[in-house]
Symmetry: C2
């Protein structure tokens, strides 16, 4: 379903957002990101700068055959013709045309100081560059948006020049003039006043593009909307240069749920969390757990003060029903939370603790002690459930008893690097020795453990490590540094997370591995869910 | 220097901010955080909730003898007396008094739904609880601020009750009524309107406390200031429950540099970056590299487009001189940046590349290739400098030639975990075999390498590993996962960062270790800076 042209959500994750420190997309990544942005219902996806970056030229070429979008139109980005060059002879302008998108977004200088000091041309020539390039592309049948770079900084010194740039573009046929806070220093009230003034002086259709250098990019975008813009630019998760851009997801969620606008198709809002996390994967950036709306902590409650009241009225403690954006409310297990949180967490896991105050007390003190040593159960639901079960019912039958393990990494004279692990275990009284190799020490240990156990526990074959995270926790107050390892394991339908902590990364990994296999083997399988199972593996969101 | 009482910067890192998922301060940590907040010039430091949390009771007790603050006053937080209890008989109120601070911040329900559904008392009793508790503490000689919890949500449904809570507090002697957006769902324009209305209806001194659930906490704080509040609450780096709180540092920087207010002593602004990073260390949270003002990327420029123009006029591309808040402008080495960035980076390192276009071209293509394989030179200046030097002058003389290494981790039957590494090297033609032990495999490898080299290179004794970071880079598009290791090494005056990437964490660590020692040994020492040294180790900020 299309929302028509009344309001534009314009995403520039693949162009401006790709300038974030640490991001480097392959062309396939870019195609995958574009598909995800389409699923969240944005109207425009700026794909890159054909002609300037070879990867982007290839992206647009592949997009023509490989990319089918339901909601969004693809946009090519480029700059106005170079100074002193005929527009039809400027290879970058031709590359922009040849990208073959129906919409083009041009960037132009709109701060006269940038024209003179960075572009090194005259204010008049810059206006001609805008006018010529817009007219050329409109003549080629393209719809043209104009990004007015440094608009607000320019406007502060000279209220006329930026407006002349806008006029040049609109008289040449541009559709939207996007006011850019390129250096990101604006605050909402001041920005809103400028937008309202320019809107009333020109009557043009305006858009807004905000960087987050003052920490106000999302709010600045809302201020511009309240002042009359009908086109907002942002990037997935706010990725972008320096402090980043306005976060497209917070902008969509705010416009829809706070300002009551309809800016994406109604079925798309619930995709925000999934799309946000998937793009983080592709960008290879750990998702920001505290990101508004979509972070895994965005609706997580920790304080004991709140946890007890949440039992009564969850709606009083959330600014929004988390399900609206595809998120969940979570209760965190942590020393500050105390008994109420452990009980609520038990309920979330399907375990009724209301009759077992003794066990709750023991769990709280055990969690306290382990957290002081660096463990964290906030993300490791499976390890917490094993701990809880052990307190309630006694430990689940151990899968094996360890005698010893040994891990070896060698870098040989010929440059080869090998990893090998040997485990010695007792399984049901039988002593088993097994050796595994891997591309690293933990992988070798995992292989050795599986080799030792699979004959007795064939279900292990359906489980695999889905993710492995390492965090060095710095030593403080005289304690040494320790390593915390989180392992995600999946059997297809379910994914569970376990934790291990030790000063030695191998031993920390071992703890998390053993918990992962124990949880996987000692709990009802996903297809056993009707077997009076109190413990159903946690569905990964 | 004190700024007097005209404007309050009130920091609640140690109380509300401690509710962030993953944070758990020791009492010593809390004392250290308080000292740091004082260095940045905040007026009030809310230290915790004595009586409710034993750790906080201890904090206030130790603060009395151990904490000397130059700028800030310490504040104890607590709730109003319980319903149906005489105030002087409520142990939590007494604990609050006994914390011994000159200022107390009380929290009260100001949304009538919370009074009835969470507190389970009557609206009238809640007013009496506010009035009694404020009066009691004022009678004990304390200055009292009142946090009006859920003020904005309450006001949306009932414009009277929150104002009655404020009136009860002020008539009993409170000094400031803090309007709290506890669920964090407000946007600036709406919030500003409510603040202005309440200010004009009551004439009371108002404050603001914003959560970041809409991504607008900082902007909401500014909107409240423009609407008349003279007391702002925030937390260091925005730490807090769910999406966090308004970031005290962005609030201070914005008030000072954008709104032109004087809210901290003038010598304090330049401490923002240092204090932000130091508190992140204590909270044990990786600093947000993209955080406004204080992030290591906050003034970093990557795009080739900008990098060339920055040579001309750096001021045109920053919203603020980074030095004002103690930050630096950085140029990033990355494939998007191209030749201009490598040249600028060279200049930053004191290497003139303008006459060596051939070398620049080779460096750019090498960086491209390595970054595609997972290397990242953005943080690893020392590794980049070794690479650059190798292209310019040939590789620096190798410190040693590796024959092989072997790393062993064993978990024995008695539960002991040991790590041991052996290296076989040639140093100046001599074959050396050395073995080291450590608390983990990388530590053991570092020990073995030092043992092998120290006789020939005694300068190694002054160098030590300052930090070790591991990141798993997920495999995409058919490639396997690789591990990236960053190592910070220090010799006291200087710190440098090196990088290693490999599918095996031990081999990745080895690369970073070897670069770290090579850089340390092959560059002029800090006390040799007058020896025509083109390569002075990078000063750590």
């Amino acid at each position: 379903m299309s929302l028509g042209d009344a309001f534009h959500v314009f995403d520039t994750t693949l162009r401006d957002g790709a300038q974030r420190e640490g991001i480097s997309y392959s062309v396939s990544d870019k195609l995958a990101v574009a598909r995800l942005l389409d699923e969240v219902g944005v109207g425009f996806i700026e794909g890159g700068w054909p002609g300037a970056l070879p990867k982007d030229t290839e992206f647009f070429a592949r997009a023509r055959s490989e990319l089918t979008l339901r909601h969004a139109r693809l946009v090519a980005f480029g700059s106005t013709r170079r100074a002193g060059v005929r527009v039809a002879a400027d290879p970058q302008v031709l590359a922009l045309r040849d990208a073959g998108t129906s919409v083009v977004c041009l960037v132009a200088k709109s701060d006269v100081r940038h024209v003179e000091r960075a572009l090194r041309t005259t204010p008049e020539e810059n206006l001609a560059m805008v006018s010529d390039t817009v007219a050329f592309l409109v003549g080629e049948g393209r719809r043209v948006f104009l990004d007015c770079e440094h608009f607000f900084d320019g406007y502060a010194g000279d209220r006329e020049y930026g407006v002349r740039v806008l006029s040049a573009a609109f008289h040449a046929g541009a559709d939207v003039g996007v006011l850019c806070d390129t250096n990101g220093g604006m605050l909402p009230m001041g920005l809103g006043r400028v937008v309202a003034e320019v809107a009333s002086r020109t009557g043009f259709r305006l858009g807004i593009h905000c960087q987050d250098d003052s920490g106000c990019a999302v709010a600045n975008t809302f201020a511009a909307v309240e002042a009359g813009v009908t086109h907002v630019q942002g990037t997935a998760n706010g990725y972008g240069e320096r402090a980043g851009n306005a976060d497209t997801f917070a902008v969509i969620a705010g416009l829809e749920t706070k300002l009551g606008l309809s800016v994406v198709p109604p079925e798309c809002l619930v995709e925000l969390v999934r799309v946000s996390h998937a793009i983080a994967e592709l960008a290879n950036i750990a998702p920001d757990t505290h990101q508004p709306y979509v972070g895994s902590s965005a609706f997580a409650h920790k304080a004991g003060l709140h946890a007890s009241a949440i039992k009564v009225s969850p709606d009083l403690y959330n600014h929004l029903d988390p399900a609206v954006v595809g998120n969940d409310m979570r209760i965190l297990v942590t020393e500050m939370a105390g008994r109420a949180s452990v009980e609520l967490k038990g309920r979330e896991l399907g375990i009724d603790l209301s009759e077992r105050p003794d066990a709750v007390g023991r769990v709280v003190s055990q969690v306290k002690e382990l957290e002081a040593a660096g463990w964290s159960f906030e993300a490791a639901d499976a390890s917490f459930e094993l701990l809880l079960r052990a307190e309630l019912d006694g430990a689940p039958a151990a899968v094996f008893t360890l005698e010893s393990y040994r891990v070896l990494v060698e870098h040989w004279g010929n440059g080869a690097v090998i990893s090998e692990a040997t485990v010695k275990l007792y399984v049901d009284g039988e002593r088993i020795i097994a050796t595994g190799e891997g591309n690293g020490p933990v992988n070798a240990l995992d292989q050795a453990l599986r080799t030792a156990l699979t004959r007795r526990y064939p279900a292990l074959e359906s489980m695999e490590l889905a993710d492995y995270k390492v965090r060095i926790l710095e030593g403080r107050a005289g304690t040494g540094a320790v390593t915390r390892v989180l392992i995600d394991t999946t059997d297809g339908p379910s994914t569970w997370t376990t934790v291990g902590v030790h000063e030695n990364v191998i031993e920390a990994s071992w703890h998390a591995l053993v918990d992962a296999l124990t949880y996987g083997l000692r709990h009802p399988r996903a297809d056993d869910h009707d077997v009076s199972g109190t413990l159903v593996p946690h569905q990964h969101q």
